[in-house]
């Protein structure tokens, strides 16, 4: 494969425990509260996972496979638009690393093997910072940020 790839590394420190951060990513009932989506899988290596919008339509927006799971410190998945699920070249890779850091947790999300300049690369650039700051806010205060918020008067 000769596509030019790009990668991103996002880091946030959360006043929480590795277990809670791991659950916040892998448990649908937790993820829906700060992400507006659920990540649904049995979380076994080789299993598929789906990223489902947590509303009445329950649209499957992203799909992929679980590559590596070691709760509560590491999770590696592949990642593609559901509409491109049959194209092997469309899959990128996301690695979650969760480390204890004094009284906090350092969460590193590495998104690599992304096609440079693709819609997905541009989308995740906007997406991850918002998702991670919402996750931090949710675990620290019990309230996530409404990721679909619009200005009140719009």
């Amino acid at each position: 494969m000769t596509k030019e790839t790009t990668s991103f590394v996002y880091v946030t420190y959360v006043l929480s425990t590795p277990e809670k951060v791991f659950e916040a990513i892998t448990r649908p009932d937790v993820a829906r509260r700060y992400w507006g989506h659920e990540n649904v899988s049995d979380w076994n290596p080789g299993s598929k996972w789906e990223h489902i919008r947590a509303n009445d339509e329950r649209t499957v927006e992203l799909v992929g496979r679980v590559i590596e799971v070691s709760p509560p410190t590491r999770l590696v998945i592949t990642w593609a638009n559901a509409s491109q699920a049959s194209d092997p070249a469309a899959y990128s890779r996301v690695t979650f690393e969760i480390e204890e850091y004094e009284n906090m947790v350092r969460l590193t999300v590495t998104h690599d093997e992304l096609e440079a300049g693709s819609g997905m690369a541009n989308g995740i650039k906007k997406g991850w910072p918002a998702v991670l700051s919402s996750l931090k806010s949710f675990l620290e205060t019990g309230r996530g940020i409404d990721l679909f918020a619009k200005p009140k008067s719009a």
Binding site: T6, F8, Y10, T12, T108, I145, S153, A154
Partner: protein, 104 residues
């Protein structure tokens, strides 16, 4: 929690320039970054250290190279706390004004 470090790190034109360079091309080495900056490696290293300390830059070792990535998560927190709520107020003010003028 890290707000002081974030604002301090941003309060310097060289460090803002470094972030701009990483925004243009993520995952650069020190050498690549220095090519675009008129300064010695040593001072660039110091500036990158301050950015890393503020969690605005994260680094990954790949073989012998150290790659620098912009980490906009703290900036997003600044946006949520300091920008978005004011933006909403301003928008609703404009909305009220428009309603009043058009209604009158």
């Amino acid at each position: 929690m890290h707000a002081d470090k974030v604002f301090k790190a941003l309060g310097d034109p060289t460090r803002r320039k470094l972030l701009d360079l990483l925004c243009e091309k993520n995952g650069q080495t020190l050498g690549e970054l220095c090519e675009n900056l008129d300064m010695a490696r040593q001072s660039a290293t110091q500036h990158l250290g301050i950015l890393e300390e503020a969690n605005l830059v994260s680094t990954v070792r790949r073989g012998r190279e150290k790659l620098h990535f912009i980490n906009p998560v703290p900036l997003h927190e600044v946006y949520e706390r300091w920008v978005r709520k004011f933006e909403r107020q301003r928008l609703s003010l404009l909305h009220d004004l428009k309603k009043e003028l058009e209604g009158g």
